[in-house]
């Protein structure tokens, strides 16, 4: 029997948890690299993410973590290497195509649709799920009303994950910082992803909010059964929810493994964690 809490190293340089071992990985990133002019922002980045794994991506500022997200979502096109998403090479695709293939993300500096209501933010995420055609919308045919109603219900349902139904008709920009971060996650979930990329979800949250977020992340993984990759500086969150962690420094992976292994890795302690985190 495999141990579910253990990561199993793969020949490709990735790791998987036991329950994902017998399924093809959702993300298979090989020798990914990108140069900005003469700067090698990322080199030889290998990562395998299992179908229901929570992966952490940590490292000092400027190490290239967000660059990895921008490459996975094809905001940047890689200079080297490939990204296989659920068996499909995403090379040359545009961001919205990758989104439809099942990648959703949040942003480090929150990017909400600020001047429109919370529920409309979520309904934009539901855009492709709300299936009616232009004539139905323009002539207000029954299909429009039916599908809009379904979208409303679905949006409220998604908002209820974070108990945000009561905020549904407020402008998104009027929410508190923490609520805006949560709304961004809800909007990402609305696109029906198979991989959710969270860029510093706990930034600006207080310890109790972070604790709540930790439970939410686990809850999302368990109910939606999706893979989550998160960038985070809050080590309590990373060590608390991640099954596998990759550590980046100067655009290179310096360590991969379970939270326990990462915590004890001398190179990681030297580059990022510092000596105090051993507990």
């Amino acid at each position: 029997m495999f141990d579910d809490t253990k990561l199993y190293p793969l020949p490709s340089g990735g790791y998987l948890t036991a329950r994902d071992l017998d399924k093809p990985p959702i993300l298979d990133i090989r020798y990914l690299g990108i140069d900005f002019g003469g700067l090698r922002a990322l080199t030889d980045f290998n990562l395998i993410v299992g179908r229901s794994e929570i992966t952490g991506l940590i490292g000092p500022n400027g190490a290239g973590k967000t660059t990895v997200f921008n490459l996975i979502t094809n905001v940047y096109q890689p200079t080297r290497g490939s990204i296989i998403l659920d068996g499909v090479d995403t090379k040359g695709m545009s961001t919205h195509q990758v989104s439809r293939l099942g990648v959703a993300r949040t942003f480090q500096n929150i990017r909400l649709f600020k001047d429109i209501s919370v529920i409309d933010n979520v309904k934009i995420g539901l855009h492709h799920e709300t299936r009616y055609q232009m004539p139905e919308a323009l002539l207000r045919l029954p299909g429009y009303f039916k599908r809009e109603k379904v979208a409303d219900q679905r949006a409220l349902e998604l908002l209820s994950i974070f108990d945000m139904e009561s905020l549904a008709y407020k402008p998104a920009g009027s929410l508190s910082y923490g609520a805006q971060r949560r709304l961004e996650i809800v909007r990402a979930l609305a696109t029906n992803p198979s991989v959710l990329l969270l860029d510093e979800p706990a930034a600006g949250m207080n310890p109790s909010e972070t604790g709540e977020l930790m439970e939410n992340i686990l809850h999302i993984r368990n109910t939606f059964n999706i893979a989550i990759v998160l960038i985070e500086h809050d080590m309590s969150l990373v060590m608390g929810v991640c099954e596998g962690i990759a550590v980046l420094n100067y655009g290179k992976i310096i360590a991969k493994g379970t939270p326990e292994e990462i915590r004890q890795n001398p190179e990681v302690i030297e580059a990022y964690l510092g000596k105090g985190v051993r507990e």
């Binding site: 545009s94 961001t95 990017r111 001047d115 409309d120 995420g125 919308a137 002539l139 809009e148």
Partner: protein
């Protein structure tokens, strides 16, 4: 959202639309609104259409095109050519001409939009400004449209009824477009393009589509203009007209259809109302613009929309239909 209540609002809106028309024509027939003033209402109608369609790109998509009069010109000349050369008679021919003008303008919207919308902000403004001037330049040099001498002898078929029908259709379709998943996609591009793209919105497609729809209604207004004035000069569709429409949109509030309607109507009628001041009327007009912009920088209406459901909604119900 209650089905019965929704049906009630739609019915009420339809009744008000028809009712307003009969009151207006009734007043004209009774002589309360004189022939001269009644004739002035027609340009008000197509200027509202121009302002509302430009608001689609300006206020909802968040881009700043400066060549809206160019699309109006395409619509005007196409429909004028259609009534001259197509074998349709009377009202049918007129409506076909209007539709052809609008469709041609929409096609130009795609042609201009595809390259232009790769850029944004000031760059897009300049490129669309260039487009407007190119259209004007081509029309000046085309022989079969009369060139600089003007396209003369277009049958004057535009009356208050046709303008009213076109206006109501324009307002209805733009409203229903905005309040749909397509409208949300358009607004998401204005709010945050990168986020929209990562939500799976094909931003290039929606930008071009919006541009083209705006051009369609501008072309329709152009067709009405051609058959109202009876003679077309390329210089009418220059930069000045584009700016005039833009001023209407900004003054009314970018992102408010209601605002565009109010400000287009006001700005068209204002110079007439100020006729008593003769030489000073353009000064007053300009001063008014400055005052509004200082005290209401988001325009008269901001992004507020008039909705029947807001008036009748029970207290505390915020989910306006």
């Amino acid at each position: 959202m209650n089905t019965k209540r929704t049906a009630f609002y739609y019915l009420l809106a339809a009744l008000l639309t028809v009712g307003f028309y009969f009151v207006l024509t009734g007043l004209i027939r009774a002589g309360v609104i004189g022939k001269y003033h009644a004739d002035m209402l027609i340009p008000v109608g197509f200027y509202i259409m121009l302002a509302v369609s430009l608001n689609l790109t300006c206020g909802f998509l968040g881009q700043l095109p400066l060549g809206h009069a160019g699309f109006m010109a395409v619509g005007a000349y196409t429909s004028a050519l259609a009534t001259r050369y197509l074998p349709f008679e009377g009202a049918l021919g007129f409506w076909i001409a209007l539709l052809l003008g609008a469709l041609m303008a929409a096609a130009f919207g795609v042609v201009v939009g595809l390259p232009a919308l790769r850029l944004s902000g000031d760059y897009l403004a300049i490129i669309t400004l260039g487009f407007g001037e190119i259209i004007k330049g081509i029309l000046l040099n085309l022989n079969f449209t009369g060139g600089a001498r003007g396209f003369k002898g277009i049958p004057k078929q535009t009356d208050l009824t046709t303008v009213y029908i076109c206006l109501v259709l324009t307002l209805f379709f733009i409203r229903t477009l905005i309040n749909s998943r397509f409208g949300r996609a358009i607004i998401s591009i204005r709010e945050n393009e990168i986020a929209a793209e990562s939500c799976g919105i094909h931003t290039t497609f929606y930008k071009t589509m919006t541009f083209s729809i705006a051009a369609f209604f501008a072309g329709l207004a152009g067709g009405l203009y051609a058959h109202y004035i009876g003679v077309l000069y390329p210089t009418t569709f220059g930069f000045d007209t584009s700016i005039e429409i833009l001023v209407m949109v900004v003054l009314g509030g970018m992102g408010s259809i209601t605002g565009s309607v109010i400000s287009a109507a006001t700005l068209r009628l204002l110079p007439e109302m100020l006729r008593a001041f003769l030489d000073y009327r353009m000064v007053i007009y300009s001063l008014l613009l400055i005052v509004v912009m200082i005290f209401r920088p988001t325009g008269l209406m901001g992004r507020y929309e008039f909705r029947l459901s807001k008036i009748f909604a029970p207290k505390g119900d915020k989910s306006h239909v």
